[in-house]
């Protein structure tokens, strides 16, 4: 899960990372009050669970409380990439001399955390990686031993820092490592880490994505998520609550299957035969008929869906359970769309009987089913 900037900064604060003086506000008046307390030019930043808020106009400068109020009012009215802004962070504006990048993420292929450092902060690090690869230092940390002081210094040096700057940046890397470990981070970064004109090092921005699987260790975050405050859409959230994965796409065919790889292959087959998936739902392993019922409801909730393809390969998942879920769902679905079912594997015979009794046709071949659902989807378009 992605954390709000102000949440990430709280984690940073606990690790001893220096931050700009700031306050959070949910109304323009509150924002003005924070600006008064800070008594200096400020920057007003939209708190949203998405990237690119700067380009979208979600970051504005203000010279005084009155201006802060105006700017905060503007930002609080915005919706950035589908996320309505509900809070702004009002921060002291810094006198920037240099912008640095430090970050830690997980390198899948090496199976290790990778610490990244660059003298080119304040811009998209992937762009720096493309255009100035020599400006980026990377270090793969031993996940058992953790990041050691001397390693942090070497990373900073490799990125091009010398003398006291090297020691400063190393200190930030070590504290960021604490954030990474303590919060089960998938990614944490400071971009930019600012050196002010008087030589102070400050974490101006903060990013922290926490591994969803670790939330049993992070109760406060789990609670925030349970209130529905997350970067997910409503349907994604509903699916997750039922232990399923839902992804929104652009087409008009709903895709349900058991197992992520199979659902992706199903999606690819639909495209192969000229169709276009509207969404993607993986019911997961060993799903019950209840879950299948929910899956159908969620997929059909998407207004663009004009046909549904259910692809079941019974392993731990039992075909009879799935069939029962489909039959149940059809009774209560808000609207009727053609449903094409492909079903083989464990308890296939029992599942077949259930579907036949309810007069629901099904196929054995994934490709045949894909062709059929594409036909249905095109009928709908007509």
């Amino acid at each position: 899960m992605r954390l709000f900037e102000y949440e990430a900064k709280e984690a940073f604060r606990q690790a001893g990372l220096p931050l700009p003086p700031s306050g959070i506000a949910t109304t323009p008046d509150e924002a003005a009050k924070v600006a008064r307390e800070l008594a200096c030019p400020v920057v007003v930043k939209a708190q949203v669970l998405t990237g690119g808020r700067g380009k979208a106009g979600g970051i504005k400068f203000a010279k005084n409380p009155a201006e802060t109020k105006t700017k905060a009012a503007e930002i609080l009215k915005m919706t950035i990439h589908g996320h309505p802004v509900q809070r702004v962070l009002v921060e002291k504006r810094l006198d920037i001399q240099q912008e640095i990048y430090v970050g830690i993420t997980i390198d899948r292929d090496r199976r290790r955390p990778v610490v990244i450092c660059s003298t080119m902060g304040g811009v998209d690090i992937e762009q720096v990686a493309d255009e100035h690869p020599e400006k980026i230092a990377r270090f793969w940390t031993d996940p058992v031993l953790g990041l050691r002081d001397f390693e942090a210094r070497q990373i900073a040096k490799n990125a091009g820092f010398e003398g006291r700057a090297m020691l400063h940046v190393a200190g930030f890397l070590l504290r960021l490592w604490q954030v990474f470990i303590k919060n089960d981070a998938e990614l944490t970064e400071i971009n930019p880490l600012i050196v002010t004109k008087d030589g102070t090092y400050i974490a101006a921005d903060a990013r922290l994505n926490v591994d969803d699987n670790s939330l049993f260790r992070h109760k406060a975050l789990a609670e925030r998520l349970s209130k529905g405050i997350s970067e997910q859409t409503e349907l994604e959230q509903r699916a997750q609550e039922h232990g399923m994965t839902y992804v929104e796409l652009q087409g008009n065919i709903g895709i349900i299957g058991n197992g992520a790889g199979l659902v992706m292959a199903t999606m690819d087959a639909v495209k192969y035969y000229g169709g276009s998936p509207a969404n993607f739902l993986d019911v997961g392993g060993g799903a019950t008929h209840d879950r299948m019922r929910n899956a159908l409801e969620i997929v059909i909730s998407h207004p663009d869906v004009e046909a549904v393809f259910i692809n079941i390969l019974g392993g731990i998942t039992r075909c009879d359970e799935m069939a029962r879920g489909i039959v149940d769902a059809q009774k209560t679905l808000p609207r009727q769309v053609p449903i094409v079912i492909r079903m083989i594997g464990t308890r296939e015979k029992e599942g077949a009987e259930i579907l036949e009794a309810a007069n629901i046709p099904f196929l054995n071949s994934m490709d045949a089913a894909a062709k059929r659902v594409v036909e249905h989807s095109k009928e709908g378009v007509k």
């Binding site: 899948r108 199976r111 994965t245 796409l249 199979l262 992706m264 019974g314 464990t346």
Partner: protein, 289 residues
């Protein structure tokens, strides 16, 4: 001939008293796997369908010193400890079925396994099967058949889909491995390709990849340099959008890495036959073998 597991493999089931553990322990035993014992901390001394339950891996090994593999059905928050325990006890193959294990935990026990020289299969894997000899996993056994094709996959049900195609077409499998759907897994395509290359019982290998990460690109580099046997590859998620997790935590295209196109191109360049539909595996193999 097979890789990693065969009829001599002696298996410990970690988490044997849980619903899943109990069910699959029995299913594996029915398949012919030598399930020797199980563990559940605090339940040592019990029996599950005649299989003795121990409090710890060490105690099970004291009683049954030939145990050399384990399969883990322990809930996510305890799974890393179970895996570490198995690695520490020197088991050679540790299969982690459990999904939703925190990735930091995974990195740590995978590193410990590397130091110790243990193979971790998974996490979030259906397991490994050497048809007719040893099933160390939760896959439906009937889609697999003894034979000479190696199968390596990042996916569960999709593996069964491909295995069923192979089996129906008369191509049995030497061993089939599910690598697991998490971003971080123990065994890689490269590790498995190496073992199949060395295995006299394998004539060709089918790899089933998916979007996300660059394990397939690494496999391609390895194939180019070291693999003499034929490789057929299928990549799921060609039509997946960028930045979305497609069910598997690991199946995500981030920036320029992890795209199906990148993987397909790399594999083709390495000399692998890349198929567009799972069903095409049959025809591709017939051309080769």
């Amino acid at each position: 001939m097979t890789i990693l597991v065969d009829k001599t493999t002696q298996v410990l089931v970690q988490g044997i008293t849980g619903r899943e553990g109990q069910f699959h322990a029995q299913a594996m035993r029915e398949y012919g796997t030598k399930i020797v014992a199980g563990t559940t901390p605090g339940k040592g001394g019990q029996e599950i369908e005649g299989m003795p339950v121990f409090d710890s891996v060490v105690e099970a090994k004291e009683q049954f010193p030939k145990i050399n593999a384990s399969i883990i059905f322990v809930p996510a928050r305890f799974a890393a400890d179970a895996a570490t325990e198995a690695i520490d006890a020197g088991l050679q193959v540790v299969t982690v079925i459990t999904e939703h294990i925190p990735v930091h935990d995974e990195m740590r026990f995978i590193e410990l396994a590397r130091r110790q020289g243990s193979y971790i299969i998974g996490p979030n894997t259906p397991g490994i099967i050497t048809p007719g000899e040893c099933k160390l996993g939760i896959m439906p056994a009937h889609v697999f058949k003894q034979g000479r094709v190696g199968l390596i996959s990042r996916s569960g049900t999709l593996t069964y889909e491909v295995a069923a195609s192979l089996t129906n077409a008369g191509f049995g499998q030497s061993t089939a491995i599910g690598l697991g759907g998490d971003p971080i897994v123990g065994m890689s395509f490269v590790n498995a390709l190496k073992l199949f290359e060395e295995d006299k019982g394998t004539d060709a290998t089918v790899i089933i990849g998916e979007i996300g990460g660059s394990a397939e690109e690494e496999a391609a580099a390895y194939i180019k340099k070291h693999v003499t046997k034929s490789v057929i590859a299928y990549i799921a998620g060609r039509t997946a959008p960028k930045g979305k997790r497609m069910g598997h935590a690991g199946a995500i295209v981030s920036g320029k890495t992890g795209t199906a196109d990148g993987k397909i191109t790399a594999l083709r360049k390495a000399g692998a036959t890349v198929i567009e539909r799972p069903i095409d595996v049959d025809e591709a193999l017939q051309k080769i073998l």
